[in-house]
């Protein structure tokens, strides 16, 4: 079953002078096993939207149903939170335990699982994120490098085996290889376990790489939700919103401005490269 967002509106501090409408009439269904990218500039409502997906925020109007469970129902919230894993920006700032294993165990423990099951989950999650349990379990989270800390924090969420994983800027601040590793990990969760992925990112290239669909938020409204090729064919509108384009799409635009007829709005560099190479051979 999917996550259904129905006519969702959210106003901060409603009824006060500071009332601020952050989301307005959003309807969107996140399908099972889908990889949904969310883009939008600062203040467009991305963070407000994703905090509705596990009931951290509740709709001012409309509803959010996770596998049919309404987030407004207080007694369902624990179940909803075990279905939807939430990874905030810079999640490593939330590491707090004395050892990596205990930190990763925190979520499963709160779910009320028994010791043996917790141990299985912790090991499984550490292996998934590429931290060898034998080496890392007993280390202090604060001895780890930046990239390792990020992965340990992610393991803490994966140990709850969420059906959906919601990530806010999961690659921010990582080096290029670290970015690729995290992105590959997220994609493998979807491929191997059918985990539904909702990823917020400022990097259009990262979103374009794996997303099945992209939701574009602008000033609290859903501007569009569609396949990457359709979204990035609206380049002028995206630029107006303060977003940028995947680098391949930028080059397509630059070529068109120089009078070269480019048929497709490529968003992946490999596909653009093949087109250009083919075109050059053809011209000869």
């Amino acid at each position: 079953m999917p996550i259904e967002i129905k006519q969702l509106s959210h106003t901060y501090l409603p009824g006060s002078q500071l009332a601020y409408p952050a989301l307005c009439d959003i309807s969107l269904t996140i399908e099972d096993g889908e990889f949904l990218g969310i883009i939008g500039h600062t203040g467009s409502g991305k963070s407000t939207l994703i905090q509705h997906l596990n009931g951290l925020l509740l709709p001012t109007d409309g509803s959010v149903l996770v596998d049919g469970l309404d987030t407004r129902e207080k007694k369902l919230r624990k179940r909803i939170r075990s279905l939807v894993g939430m990874v905030f920006q810079y999640p490593e700032y939330q590491l707090f335990e004395e050892t990596v294993a205990r930190d990763v165990a925190f979520g499963p423990k709160n779910m009320g699982l028994d010791e043996a099951e917790i141990k299985v989950r912790v090991n499984e999650a550490l292996v998934l994120v590429g931290l060898d349990p034998a080496e890392f379990s007993e280390k202090s989270p604060f001895e780890l490098s930046g990239g390792e800390k990020r992965r340990a924090a992610l393991a803490g969420i994966l140990a709850m085996r969420p059906k959906y994983l919601v990530l806010d800027e999961p690659m921010a601040g990582l080096d290029p290889r670290g970015r690729r590793e995290i992105l590959a990990l997220i994609e493998s969760l979807r491929r191997d376990f059918g985990t539904g992925i909702v990823m917020v990112s400022h990097s259009m290239d990262d979103v374009a790489m794996f997303a099945d669909r992209i939701a574009v938020l602008d000033k609290g409204a859903l501007f569009m939700v569609d396949k990457p090729e359709t979204v990035f064919s609206h380049s002028a509108e995206l630029i107006d919103m303060g977003l940028n384009l995947p680098q391949a799409t930028q080059l397509v635009r630059a070529l068109r401005m120089r009078g070269i007829a480019m048929e497709h709005d490529y968003f992946r560099m490999e596909e653009l490269a093949q087109d250009l190479i083919g075109r050059w051979h053809h011209d000869r």
Binding site: G146, R258, M269
Partner: protein, 280 residues
Amino acid sequence: MTPNALIEIVNVGFQYAGAEKIALKNISLSIQKGEVVAIVGHNGSGKSTLCKMLNALLIPSEGTVTIENMDTREEKNLLEIRRRVGMVFQNPDNQLVTTIVEEDVGFGPENLGVPPAEIRTRVDAALKEVEMSEYAEKASHALSGGQKQRVAIAGLLAMQPEVLVLDEATAMLDPRGREEVLSTVRKLNRERGMTVVMITQFMEEALDADRVFVLAEGHLVMEGTPKEVFNERALLEASRLEAPAFVKLRDELLTAGLPISHEAMTCEALADELSRVLHA
């Protein structure tokens, strides 16, 4: 010693107290007045440690760091070094200290004991430089990330520094915020000859620099122009980095036989080359 170097780093080593690993090992480099340099490196490579040496937030365990011939180890130099070397950090929310934009910009010169009338002049000029004049009386918490970083830069300008050090100052910003900060810094360099040291995880940002330094595991593994550095694809990969996307595309096209220039590294340069080749 290099003549006229603004920043001179000689055989610097550093180890954090209680840490097993050495954070920096035998680093020597110098930065000239008016230069834009980028320092890139993987997470944990020592970039931020090196950066904190530039205004004596950290003192080297070995070797020396001098700013206009002032040694960072000498206590008496500290105030003057910190005035000359302005730092912008990653998190826009951690750098503004007061609630109103212009008060924040005036905070530095006030601490330096600058007379009030002069502070007013400096604050107005600094906000103008970063194009934030109209926000002078606004609440700083309500600004966007890019605006906050520009106010942070204005606060440094008001102290009339010689060099701006940006420690991943764009990492937490959206594309528009990043561009605001980068264009502000480029303008300060172009129009005022401001020396800029940029530490970044975005290889594209390093393309604008005069020189790029690459750190890996605490060692300086490469230095050169962006062109020299980003052509060393294998060495970059070994340092957990990669060339900018357009450099990689250019190389792929060159390998396929397209007669484009080896110099093209940006979207615009590559588009120029391709329009020449594909029209012909």
